[in-house]
Symmetry: C2
Subunit: 547 residues, 2 copies
Amino acid sequence: MVPHLVPRWPAWLFRWRTACTPPCTPGASMQQRTWAGASRTPGLGSPRGAVGTSPLDCRGSSSTSSRAPEVMLTQERYPVQRLPFSTVAEEDLAAFERIIPGRVITDPEELEASNVDWLRTVRGCSKVLLRPRTTEEVSHILRYCHERNLAVNPQGGNTGMVGGSVPVFDEIILSTALMNQVISFHSVSGILVCQAGCILEELSQYVEERDFIMPLDLGAKGSCHIGGNVATNAGGLRFLRYGSLRGTVLGLEVVLADGSVLNCLTSLRKDNTGYDLKQLFIGSEGTLGVITAVSIFCPPKPRAVNVAFLGCPGFAEVLQTFSTCKGMLGEILSAFEFMDAECMQLVGHHLGLASPVQESPFYVLIETSGSRAGHDAEKLTSFLEQVLGSGLVTDGTLATDQRRIKMLWALRERITEALSRDGCVYKYDVSLPVERIYDLVSDLRARLGPQAKHVVGYGHLGDGNLHLNVTAEAFSASLLGALEPYVYEWTAGQRGSVSAEHGLGFKKRDVLGYSKPPAALQLMQQLKALLDPKGILNPYKTLPARA
Amino acid sequence: MVPHLVPRWPAWLFRWRTACTPPCTPGASMQQRTWAGASRTPGLGSPRGAVGTSPLDCRGSSSTSSRAPEVMLTQERYPVQRLPFSTVAEEDLAAFERIIPGRVITDPEELEASNVDWLRTVRGCSKVLLRPRTTEEVSHILRYCHERNLAVNPQGGNTGMVGGSVPVFDEIILSTALMNQVISFHSVSGILVCQAGCILEELSQYVEERDFIMPLDLGAKGSCHIGGNVATNAGGLRFLRYGSLRGTVLGLEVVLADGSVLNCLTSLRKDNTGYDLKQLFIGSEGTLGVITAVSIFCPPKPRAVNVAFLGCPGFAEVLQTFSTCKGMLGEILSAFEFMDAECMQLVGHHLGLASPVQESPFYVLIETSGSRAGHDAEKLTSFLEQVLGSGLVTDGTLATDQRRIKMLWALRERITEALSRDGCVYKYDVSLPVERIYDLVSDLRARLGPQAKHVVGYGHLGDGNLHLNVTAEAFSASLLGALEPYVYEWTAGQRGSVSAEHGLGFKKRDVLGYSKPPAALQLMQQLKALLDPKGILNPYKTLPARA
């Protein structure tokens, strides 16, 4: 892609680099950046076996069973009481059929994929799935449900990590799958307006053909919906460069609990007319309204992308590499990810991916995105000379072409998949002061000892976001007891966040108090009561159950 | 500053550049980037004369009067009714004195600067100004005022454009001026936590000494408070590069109307635990709570800054220059500002600043900020070759040293000041689709004819943000009638925003409906009622008066 770059590398660096000219991941086929390898309906028919037996991501290591065994019903596994909503009756189905003819799904086989989350940890028993195509249809449906006191579970691509996207009991599933139209794209400003059900990867392709990129990218891109991304305030891989959706989402159209439509779908970079209502819905996980359309600012497509994959001798060196990198790569730095040695062992063992660099205690993936390939290469060269020369990095490889870039990214992005094949997984997603981020992993490893099979840490170091995962052969109450509330208390002790980017959904709603004070919880409850007085929107999610 | 750059410029460009080696602004002294030249209390003792006679920014061209004449009381000029709040009594003053001994100001002379906005267009008649130092003191004050039903006007640097920062009647002025302490700064992450009354310029200096910059910069930096910046969701000059405060503000501490403290002062890049309450207060102009502390993400200080000042033959060429610029300067572009020929005439006539380039219908100021001076210079050279060669730009000059950069910026930043010396100013701040942005200026010029002295357009083109200003010798109801609601209707017709960055405050609250639908207004009113049921916080601001 940028062949003229090669001669610019200093000779020693070129040797270092060419040491990895053969494919870095022998035995691994090209992988799309999607959960579980590009399945559009993750969790559905995925080749992972074993029954989940805990509130966690638990499965065996088999990858050959043709059909995953049933997941235990959420209402049986968790101490949760159904709230006094109405139950869907024949007359309700008839009413829905009048609003969206032919798009009222009641077939249990079809419903299964929408009742179970992709991690196969929670399972609702909804009897009906609705597939509106327009905002007006969503409005009619919600107005009807509001009048009838029927609970509703809005659902996008169902790729969430915290059980927020599936029903807990028999909530009506309101899917955005057919709301997948681009409404407009402005070729000068890069502002995209689209329906909420557009799949992130398809939007990426759409804007990339027009020389822009989406401001967010995440492993689930092949399945997740932009509406779901916004509803969960997704972070992901481009956060370091393009920031939060709170800055890049310019407008939203939302249907409120009573069916009224709130049209704040502006396409303006700046608008200070009154309170910014769209912010209420970003990250509220479908509990305050149903997002039906999104206006989002897309940055110009970078002309040059490079990925360096480096081995570091310790976490202190990872941190110093990060500081050096910020200073020397500056505005072209677009990702700084890290993973520990156990992560690399897992992707090697379960997915057959080999490390492209010599075995190291830590690995770092650095991505640059810039407008001039030659300049970016020079900056990277200087940086690599510096970190290699000073011993911060002991080995590394660099990719400038699309195929090898994807291969290097796969090492980082497929950790989730490798973990899921390792047994029962206890997942945590925390924000911490960057200098303390790995202490939690080390502490836990010492605390758990042989109780855990693996204790691994990886994540978006540039954002202070650690993905901490613990695996075991099977669910163990004593292991869970050793993990919780320890992890949450440890995080709260550092004034960290117990959910950096995954949200709270159903599974984490009760830990909100570790990161927010009582006054904040009270105001959140008041906002919920204001916007959804009957509580029909995604009940049992985000906010703790009231005492 | 970057002397090694010069030889890299092609010979013809070097000539072009050196044509402006003498100071670009003969006769102009160095100006700080502050309103009216670095006054800490703009509007107070500023050298602008003449009585304001309209709801606008009206004054004569005299710059010699030692004391500005009185501004008409807002309650006399506007059709506004005092709401039934209590009136401050002696016992209240005694109570305040117990909370903040020695910091209860009742001297009319001292109060004057806080009762009148810096544009000298609105004037309250508050009898008391309170200067708390701590959040606890603010909490005690608000709890007291809430119980006593006393209205409160939170005030930062009083640099707002829409009359949001001064009382309308006799509201108690709650100043953040003494809440000016930095609480913490993290030298790796660049996260600054400080009290709300810190002056933006002082924070800039503080973080620049530590190799970071504030993510926002604006003309009023010498006076404005960070709390006020956040409360008004200030945009400014770095928006193009670092985005909205909604993305860069990481946490807030806010005192609610009843005196309770909402501590969401986290210092984390990512935190998805529940609803993001701080967003409610960003841009709500002190009507929902009083911001007492701010946590904000500061980007690394760029190692090289360049400013190019260019002349364009028409607005179509300005737009094409912008597109070319985005493509060729990419990630180093940090500002793209434009001004028309009449703006240049005004800064020349009133401030003695001379154009550094030959007379042109339009001027563009482009700033780059990057991590490697040589690379930035090469990108700029390529870009300038392209726009000069293709005729998009007819003349230009470039500054790489701090002194000349400030001089070029002064041409753009001091337009506000030049306008204020031109007579009665009618000010509009709108967002529009970028390709239509100047049509509004041209339309108005034709519509107003000789009624107006000047109709000028300038602003942040990169953000689609036009500052449209009309001047006349004196206030004229017929001119106002020709402007309004025409400007608002024109903007609404393009789905623009009638307040891009200035907010609504008191003067624009009634035009909110041009940019937001009735359902949004209703929800805003509900939020106000939820957070401030007695309506004591900054009454008569942001939201339209209820029918």
